[in-house]
Symmetry: C2
Subunit: 470 residues, 2 copies
């Protein structure tokens, strides 16, 4: 190592000692770090395309696991050390197998967070939460009626499944795609906080059975799309046990909360699920797409999806073929979704994510408090338990209208305020109506670079645009 490189390392080390998120005011550190990564990648591209270099240095998976420490640590790892690890380790292994091992390493932490035994659990990275939910429902059907894989839905009972009326539409979509039918995916009512009502679920299950249908799958939502609500997992798990139903938790949005010991209780009972969808591209901040479908029981995913493509999954390869995961997927080739997550998690450690999620929750609480204090704002759900804060802004000139007229006016306020934001280019918050309510804003606090000042600015901006409306 030349002294020039040493001094450049020392400089980089100093620059990245501070936060390097691009919004954090340490642009020099951000830029230097990214440039350093780019140089590593360029050297990799150069050497890999050099006809005088080996195209791979083969190692068996078990040996590779010893060569590189892929495990996710408790404490953050030094970023520079990670980068230098790449520089040193780049040429010692074929590239794809490492990603399979990274998937395993990352999933181990996810299984543990759910509360499962990593030795018995299974999972797959899917292209988004909708496909992950499809994997789960497909596996549930397979467990109950394995013959449907081969003979379809014709000669098996009429299946039906259940999800809350505030759940993601991909559950109904999975039911349609799988040939169960969207109408056999029943919407269970939610309470005023957006949580599935367990009594309503059990009543519906019993009603369906009476009508000759065969309930097989219940989806609970952990962090619903609009309200950020967590369904009561323990209660629903009890019902699923009583009726012998597959228990799926769609924690696409809320899964990250499992990494915070302080907030994890909102998902109490998740360990009783048969399958869990968890999108690191949401709360954990990985770039789109990075989505996992996790299974408590190993083996089912393979039985359900394998189609014996001999030309792909030969058994006479010169290594342990149990590391080939392709036959568990509905997809054939898969995009590499794990590397970015692995790298983030490795550098943050368990501790980093815990802090990150706690910080976001603190910001959400701060925003809620500020909304409550500021005239004209009205919360949809009085005490949000997650990072979704849904609210109206009611401009002063319509505050005293009759309910019917107020409702009609409110319907148009949020779209107009958003249009005003887009015109100004200052900020952007989405809105939507729900069954009972006219258009309201849905603020999601998931960018970890958000500050209290940003939230104050947003509130001021909404008031400013809202009051200026004709």
């Amino acid at each position: 190592m030349s002294s020039a490189a040493d001094s450049s390392d020392a400089m980089l080390e100093q620059l990245i000692a501070k936060e390097i998120l691009p919004q954090s005011g340490n642009w020099e550190g951000t830029e230097e770090f990214l440039n350093r990564i780019v140089q590593v990648l360029l050297k990799y591209i150069k050497d890999q395309n050099d006809r005088d270099q080996k195209i791979l240095e083969f190692h068996h998976p078990d040996k590779m696991q010893m060569l590189i420490d892929l495990s996710i640590p408790e404490k953050p790892e030094n970023l520079l050390k990670l980068v230098k690890g790449f520089e040193a380790g780049r040429f010692t292994y074929e590239i794809a197998p490492v990603f399979i091992l990274m998937e395993k390493s990352v999933m181990t932490r996810m299984w543990e967070a759910v509360g499962w035994d990593p030795e018995k659990a299974d999972g797959i990275f899917a292209p988004g939460g909708a496909i992950a939910n499809l994997y789960a429902m497909n596996a549930a059907r397979h467990q109950l009626w394995p013959r449907s894989k081969h003979l379809g839905m014709k000669d098996i009972p009429t299946l039906c499944c259940f999800t809350s009326e505030d759940s993601h539409y991909s559950i109904k979509s999975a039911s349609a795609v799988l040939g169960i039918g969207a109408d056999y995916c029943f919407n269970i009512p939610t309470d005023k906080n957006g949580k599935m009502i367990p009594e309503a679920l059990e009543a519906k299950i019993i009603e369906c059975k009476k009508e000759g249908l065969t309930p097989f799958f219940v989806c609970c939502t952990a962090g619903s799309t609009v309200y950020g609500a967590f369904d009561p997992l323990e209660n629903v798990a009890n019902i699923c046990e009583r009726h012998k139903l597959w228990f799926h938790v769609d924690a696409a949005w809320g899964g990250g909360m499992l990494l915070s010991p302080e907030h994890r209780y909102k998902l109490a009972g998740v360990e009783r699920a048969n399958s869990v969808t968890w999108n690191p591209h949401k709360l954990m901040g990985a770039l789109l797409q990075c989505s996992a479908c996790l299974f408590r029981q190993d083996g089912l995913l393979f039985q359900c999806n394998q189609m014996s493509a001999d030309y792909l999954f030969q058994q006479d390869k010169p290594y342990d073929v149990s590391f080939d995961t392709g036959d568990k997927a509905i997809q054939c080739g898969r995009h590499n979704d794990v590397f970015k997550l692995w790298l983030m998690w490795k550098s943050k450690g368990m501790e980093g994510y815990r802090q990150q999620i706690n910080k976001l929750m603190d910001l959400a609480n701060y925003f809620t408090r500020r909304i409550k204090e500021t005239q004209g704002f009205e919360l949809i759900i009085e005490n949000p338990e997650f990072l979704n804060i849904c609210f109206w802004y009611v401009p002063s000139k319509i505050r005293n209208l009759e309910p019917a007229e107020m409702r009609a006016r409110l319907e148009k306020i949020a779209p107009k305020i958003k249009a005003g934001m887009m015109q100004r280019g200052t900020t952007m918050v989405g809105y939507q109506p729900d069954k009972q309510r006219p258009n309201f804003f849905r603020m999601i606090i998931s960018n970890q670079a958000i500050t209290r000042e940003d939230l104050d600015f947003l509130i001021k901006e909404i008031v400013d645009i809202g009051e200026s409306l004709e």
Copy 2:
């Protein structure tokens, strides 16, 4: 523009005038070009995260189409001009809408290449060919039995579909996932060149009808995975018309051939398909994943997949909502798969891809000729029509064995030679058996940086390792 930038532009222009593929010996050009792109991206990240900058400059989709020329040209476009276009255009638009317009621009060229009217066609980018094939089969079912979306497969006739025995396993997988059943996806025999036998297809359709089944979907493969065979599309289209069946072409691998007027004839009849899967991440060289499922008829994809998620797809947005494509997808959030393809295609133009594909075909022909000339090599398919060249290497010491013993020995030769390659790290070629034959090599020529010398080297290496085996 400062004169420093001008001179740096002039230097870059000169460096990238030559080929900048990393294997092409112009590493300085490759590196400078990539560094320039990185600098553009870094500036973008910096400015986008600057709280003093607008978060977007909103333009309606129709206006945006006028601001930026997103169309794919006939002739290659100057790379530097493209890069400078980014630098100038970066801040003039919200980012996601541009990608929707890019999808449309790229798909227009794909629809035209298939031979469809772009005004009437439809399509979606899917996470890989397997999911694209699933989209196609799902749409076919929907067209025939729209009620299945809501009521499942219970009260509709028993559907069945057809694909060649050499087709990709994702067709059978789609049949299983959709609840039709893998066993109701019938494998049609192929001829000695790996092409579906149309007479066998029609006989099977008639047999199925007699047995009370309802045929609804036929898949032809254009470029089969192992042999690179093209099914006889015209003949199968005739059969589908006679029996009123959905005609799908899985051109995941072979679709790129449509861009070569010289080789396009191998897919003659593809314009009669109802749907086509085409993976630009294969022949066109886009990075994984980039896969399109194209439909001749607009509207069906939406009817089939939309689930009316009011909170996502509001109708009261301040722009033409027909540009929102989300409700056509089974996925919710989608990875941006189009940008890389758009950029490549924009810079190559139609002409560049034509040359690229013709060059690969020339190399495949060269390799086939060399194989035929070299003692010990035996082709599986005598005259490959695509980029797959399947062959055995028969070491001299086993050339005179009895057929049965030869077969037993051959089964182990390819794995041993591949293991030898992996040990040496010089090259890597896959192998597999098929129903009748012991393990053989499957060489795929798809990397456009391959030279004749590389192919000569490969042949020499196989002979060398093969002759050295015990």
